[in-house]
Amino acid sequence: MNKIIEIQNLVKQFNGVSAVNGLSFSVGKGEFFGLLGPNGAGKTTTIRMLYGYSPPTSGMLRIFGMDVSTESRKIKARIGVCQQDNTLDPDLTVEQNLLVFAGYFSISKKEAAERSEELLDFFALNHKRDAKVMELSGGMVRRLILARSMINRPELLILDEPTTGLDPQSRHQVWEKLGELKKSGLTVVITTHYMEEATQLCDRLVIVDHGNILVDGSPESLIEQYAGKHIIEIEGPDQDLIEYLKNHDVEYDDLGKRLILYDPERKGMNSTIRSQYCNEKCIYRNSTLEDVFLRLTGRELRE
């Protein structure tokens, strides 16, 4: 497979403290790749190294086969970056944000006008072209940042939490647009805290914590492997249930007032548990990526 991003033993330290600790992964052409992890896991640091904002302490980081530390200008000309912060230019209108940004890529005026027209249409911002950035809603701001990151027709799109803080309607609209971009064959790297987003969009993802990769695979395979097909959540479990689970070697997480049972089918105990041990409230549901994520990274609050 044609590799767009190659990372080997990537390390980033701030004042001697490692934020990224020997990361290795690669992203192939046309892949929609997710970089997940709890707060402080090193996601944004990795993303910043990807687009040359932050120089790696050590390790190899190549994009399009070029070294990020020596050829960042050539690389940046071919990638689109959607930063976590709103970095839109508040002194400019919506349309000017696209035109001026095109200027930074040395795109001709005529070409820039055509492309911003296209992007305003695609991201449904045409009616706001003369508005100030300050007047936009959160969803429109995100769409404009996305539109801006596409102005140079990038071969690789880097998205750092593109839907954080959005209302459900806006989030779904962003997903729809990202889905269309995915279909067009664009290579995308995304970080997100929304597991639903990662499940829907990503072909493949890694979960990182403390600067290391914990798992690597497609959302479906990771769910299958780490959380099974189904989950039973039992509220107010009694000691008998815990005894039963221990005796029968069923995997579970004990949250005190709640038990989470992984893959009860595999042990064939689904109906027994549900009929005999459901005292208060019992939920039987499909496993999700969120279950995988919480299982692997723990349930304690970060930061």
């Binding site: 701030f14 687009y51 904002y53 932050s54 120089p55 200008r73 050539k74 940046k76 000309a77 970056v81 930063q83 912060d85 709103n86 970095t87 839109l88 230019d89 508040p90 002194d91 400019l92 000017q96 001026v100 940004f101 200027g103 930074y104 890529f105 040395s106 801006r148 990151s149 140079n152």
Partner: protein, 261 residues
């Protein structure tokens, strides 16, 4: 040292960005250079000149207003450039994250900083041009030599823009710009041979004034306005060049340390 590969003409795209923004607000902004010299000339001309009489400068007798008129242009160059690369650049860098957005494009940080300094010099040159018209109509500036004040203003703007950008690179919060203004800009504004000749200062203070970049800019402004100056113009030009290069270098270093982590 700084890798020469980080510099290219691409910096002009950032300069253009500032021009696009300025075009929206120029109607308010150009009033300051239009009216400020009028106020100063009126205040000092009507109010002061009766008290002061003639000023002895470089062996010539000048009316007080004729003495300060060129210096007003020099001080406007300083204020315009210094404010642009301190408050205005800091807002763009820190609050608006404009530089962060630019860094996701082929622009290098060095190009962004050079563009900011060049833009501040452009504002200085613009202000000087308007003041030149006003003061020229009042007869304080001799033409065509007076036109040289425009490139001089750009050149001086680079020097003050560079030191402003250096402060932006090292200052923790925007309020702290008060410090370089209080300790550096204001004393320079008053004691650089702007409102009275440096020869009026006590002997110990004179060399200090000669080290002020504004002194050399005011000298050049007088040379191009009325053809007199105390210091050889090449010394003034040389001093300002060294000052500009030195602080541009420090500004680039400080901004890289601040933003690239």
């Amino acid at each position: 040292m700084i890798d020469p590969a980080v510099f290219s003409w691409r910096f002009l795209t950032v300069w253009k960005r500032n021009l696009v923004v300025y075009k929206k607000i120029w109607k308010v902004n150009f009033l300051t250079p239009l009216f400020e010299p009028l106020f100063y000339i009126l205040a000092f001309g009507l109010g002061f000149s009766g008290l002061i009489g003639k000023v002895h400068y470089d062996g010539v007798e000048l009316s007080y207003t004729a003495f300060i008129a060129p210096a007003l242009i020099a001080t406007a160059v300083m204020w315009n450039a210094f404010f642009e690369t301190t408050y205005a650049s800091f807002v763009r860098m820190y609050f608006q994250k404009t530089f962060d957005g630019m860094l996701a494009t082929p622009l290098s940080l060095e190009e962004i900083i050079i563009a900011e300094i060049a833009w501040s010099a452009t504002k200085s040159a613009g202000a000087a041009t308007i003041m030149l018209l006003v003061l020229g109509l009042m007869g304080f500036i001799h033409f065509p030599m007076g036109l040289l004040l425009i490139p001089m203003a750009f050149f001086g703007g680079l020097a003050f823009g560079a030191i402003g950008m250096f402060f932006t690179g090292i200052i923790p919060t925007i309020d702290m710009f008060n410090l370089p203004i209080f300790l550096f800009i204001t004393p320079m504004f008053l004691f650089s041979g702007t409102f009275f000749p440096v020869s009026n200062l006590p002997a110990w203070a004179q060399p200090v004034a000669l080290a002020f970049p504004l002194y050399h800019l005011a000298e050049l402004a007088r040379l191009f306005s009325i053809g007199t100056c105390e210091v050889a113009p090449l010394i003034s030009i040389g001093y300002l060049t060294v000052f500009c290069v030195f602080f541009t270098y420090l500004a680039l270093k400080a901004m890289r340390k601040r933003l690239i982590q």
